[in-house]
């Protein structure tokens, strides 16, 4: 709360205010309770406790808020990926392994406001996946070095 004069600060701190200054307390309370539900939004006495609670929550709920916003970003990125046929987990993994340093906030913003950029990121993830698959297949189809016998070779000879 911003206190423009020392007098107002005294009014806010002091419970025993003169009748002429009564409205200042209510104005300051309404600044904090304008977004509440029901009568505690408009009535001073009913909003005393909820306002205290909300001030307490504003500090204790900070890690929970971070967690909620993180979940929201995850959901949004997953939705954006699904539109292009990529899974969220493989998308994030592809970006991490290719050293693309975009955090979840920026990815969520891109998925909403820059759809074509996000599409290109998804295409990148798909291309990387196909390249890895090709690489894996190439390793499997390589001729084995001499001296190694596999079960396949024995079965084929029989």
């Amino acid at each position: 709360m911003v206190f423009l004069t020392l007098a107002l600060l005294r009014v806010g701190k002091n419970k025993m205010t003169p009748y002429s200054m009564r409205e200042w307390k209510r104005v300051m309370q309404r600044r904090l309770s304008w977004h509440f539900r029901n009568r505690k939004r408009n009535c001073y006495r009913l909003s005393l406790c909820p306002v205290k609670k909300s001030l307490r929550f504003s500090t204790t709920v900070r890690p929970i808020r971070r967690r909620n916003i993180n979940h929201l970003f995850t959901n949004r990125i997953a939705a954006g990926c699904a539109q292009h046929g990529v899974q969220y987990s493989s998308f994030m993994r592809a970006l991490y392994e290719s050293n693309i340093l975009l955090n979840k906030k920026m990815l969520a913003q891109l998925s909403i406001y820059e759809p074509r950029s996000f599409q290109s990121l998804c295409e990148f993830a798909k291309k990387r996946h196909s390249e890895l698959v090709q690489k894996g297949l190439a390793v499997a189809l390589e001729p084995l070095p001499s001296g190694i016998i596999t079960r396949d070779m024995i079965k084929k000879s029989v």
Binding site: H35, I69, N75, A78, A79, G80, A82, Q83, I112, Y113
Partner: protein, 215 residues
Amino acid sequence: DFIRVNSIYGFQNEQPHPHYIFCQQWAVLARTWWIYDANQQCPFRSAYRLTAYLQGLHKPVYHRYGDVGDHVVVFNTRHIAMRGEFWRTYKHFHHTRYAGGFSRASAYRVHEEDPTRVLERACHNRLSGLDNRRTLMKRLHLFPDEEIPAEILENVSGQIQQVQVVPKKLEDYSQEVIDSFPRLFKMPEDYDIESYKRENKLEPDQHTSKAWRLK
């Protein structure tokens, strides 16, 4: 026409940046209607997908308070499939809020009464914990067979993919295909092939007395 998009995070006191206002796309905020065929699908796995569309989780602009969900029309709920013994063992509970008003019923009995209730309950249970559950359930339209009113069908503009592949039954194959299928071995002539079709050979729950067994 540009409309002020106030806040995408639902934060309090967040001021909109000017460029958020100017890149609004009308199709993003439209409420689309999706259709889903529940023939031979698991209700619980279908609910997983359908509730995602109801809440709006398939959209990048998703937010819980944002009311970005879509309508979902489901037909063929009469022909839903549950695994194992669930038709018998999965119970639906009901309490009338009066003394002695508690009742429970197996899924098959509920299905006989109302063929849409099993899937409706599955979706309802999946949306637990949400404030706007009732609103979302109102946007779910269930029909037991393939008859859907024209005014609803008009709105439909997309289809949700089925959860399970519908298997082909023996009846769906033509007699020629069945006859031309190679035979592995021939049964001896005195072997009684039809014994499995007789009474009390089909019933799985042998622990129930004969009066209570299903016909």
